[in-house]
């Protein structure tokens, strides 16, 4: 079936409006597949478009498929020789070299233990090989990446919720940040690490994020106000 932007799409549907326009270069995002100049849908969801040449399928998903350049939250599960194994929720565990930390050398190993939470960037993500993580940028600086404090709390959520709260126009993180002092790491793999001053605030933040899944922007603002009020009454 031929579909267009904004439609609910199913795998196997054809998008003729993309393949017919011969002039401009088109970027096919997640959920779209190319089959000899014919664009096919490969996920269930809603077909979206941006800037007239970027197309993707906005879908509900819980299983993380690694993609190059994305930042993820992972748990170190094994420490063997030169690499750490990190569980990022994908089908295979990711590898993280001990040299991929800021200031790490062969003699000066980073202090990473099994069970630690890391915020890292995927540097290779291929279908046939295990994903590879790094905790430094191309200049060798840590920036926002690195080991997260063990005082935080980690939970999982769906991938579309992560995308929703990381959009630039989403009010959730701004409001929560304004009301509750906290530190947060949200991985594209649906794992969220959060650390606040006390346990109550941490739980409130976790609930606020999970509750935002099916809410609109206005509802998110109301919900955040509610949670902040309850929290301030408890203290």
């Amino acid at each position: 079936m031929d579909v267009s932007v904004g439609d609910v799409v199913l795998p196997g549907d054809k998008v003729c409006e993309i393949s017919e326009d011969q002039k401009k270069r088109v970027i096919l995002g997640p959920g779209l597949r190319l089959n000899v100049d014919q664009v096919l849908i490969s996920k269930c969801g809603i077909l979206r478009m941006k800037n007239a040449n970027v197309y993707w399928v906005d879908s509900h998903q819980k299983r993380y498929i690694p993609s190059r350049g994305e930042t993820v939250v992972g748990v170190v599960t094994n420490k063997s020789g030169e690499v750490f194994r990190v569980d990022i929720g994908s089908s295979d565990q990711a590898s993280l070299s001990y040299l991929a930390f800021e200031g790490a050398t062969k003699k000066l190993r980073p202090d990473v233990n099994v069970g630690d939470i890391v915020f890292a960037r995927l540097i290779t993500a291929s279908r046939d090989m295990e994903p590879e993580l790094v905790c430094v940028d191309s200049y060798g600086k840590a920036g926002k990446l690195g080991i997260l404090s063990p005082e935080g709390f980690t939970f999982s959520c769906s991938l579309n919720l992560v995308r929703k709260i990381l959009r630039q126009n989403c009010p959730l993180l701004k409001i929560l940040g304004h009301e509750i002092p906290h530190e947060i790491a949200i991985g594209m793999n649906g794992k969220v690490w959060v650390k606040a001053r006390n346990v109550r605030a941490t739980i409130a933040l976790g609930h606020a994020i999970l509750a935002a899944e099916h809410l609109t922007k206005e509802e998110i603002i109301y919900m955040c106000d509610d949670i902040v009020n309850v929290l301030s009454r408890m203290q």
């Binding site: 498929i65 990381l166 947060i184 949200i186 594209m188």
Partner: protein, 139 residues
């Protein structure tokens, strides 16, 4: 004879090579145009931010980076317009300097001519008397 043999050999090699890679070269590679770019990540599609944030001094390092990013974004939106010296001030200053700087571009000959011209216009200026020989007094 030799040349045709070489040609046949080359043809055979090409066929062998094609057979060797035939399972790797897909229909897509043979016929498809390269007007599509495949992106596997949602991040560039939806312009997502990096999910590492800190609020109200929980992690000063992260907050400093966030501040720097915000400043960079703001600077990109509104490029710096203010200069040390405003245009009006500059124009005023230059108007007083026109003569001084103008002289720089005159040739030496032009320079003196300009002087003479100036002298003539000023008629009140005393003319130099021709010097005469002064006879010394004999007292």
């Amino acid at each position: 004879m030799k040349r045709s043999k070489e040609k046949a050999l080359q043809q055979k090699e090409a066929d062998d090579g094609f057979g060797f890679f035939s399972d790797v070269i897909t229909e897509e590679m043979k016929q498809g145009s390269n007007k599509f770019i495949v992106e596997t990540s949602f991040v560039p599609c939806e312009d997502l931010i990096v999910g590492r944030l800190s609020f109200q001094g929980m992690n000063p390092v992260i907050e400093r980076i966030m501040q720097e990013e915000e400043d960079a974004k703001r600077e990109k939106v509104a490029p710096k317009v203010e200069a040390d010296v405003s245009d009006n001030e500059m124009a005023h200053r230059y108007s007083t300097l026109v003569g001084t700087i103008g002289r720089k571009y005159n040739k030496k000959r032009g320079h003196t001519r300009a002087h003479i011209h100036k002298g003539e216009s000023r008629s009140s200026a005393p003319k130099k008397k021709k010097l005469k020989f002064l006879k010394p007094q004999e007292d």
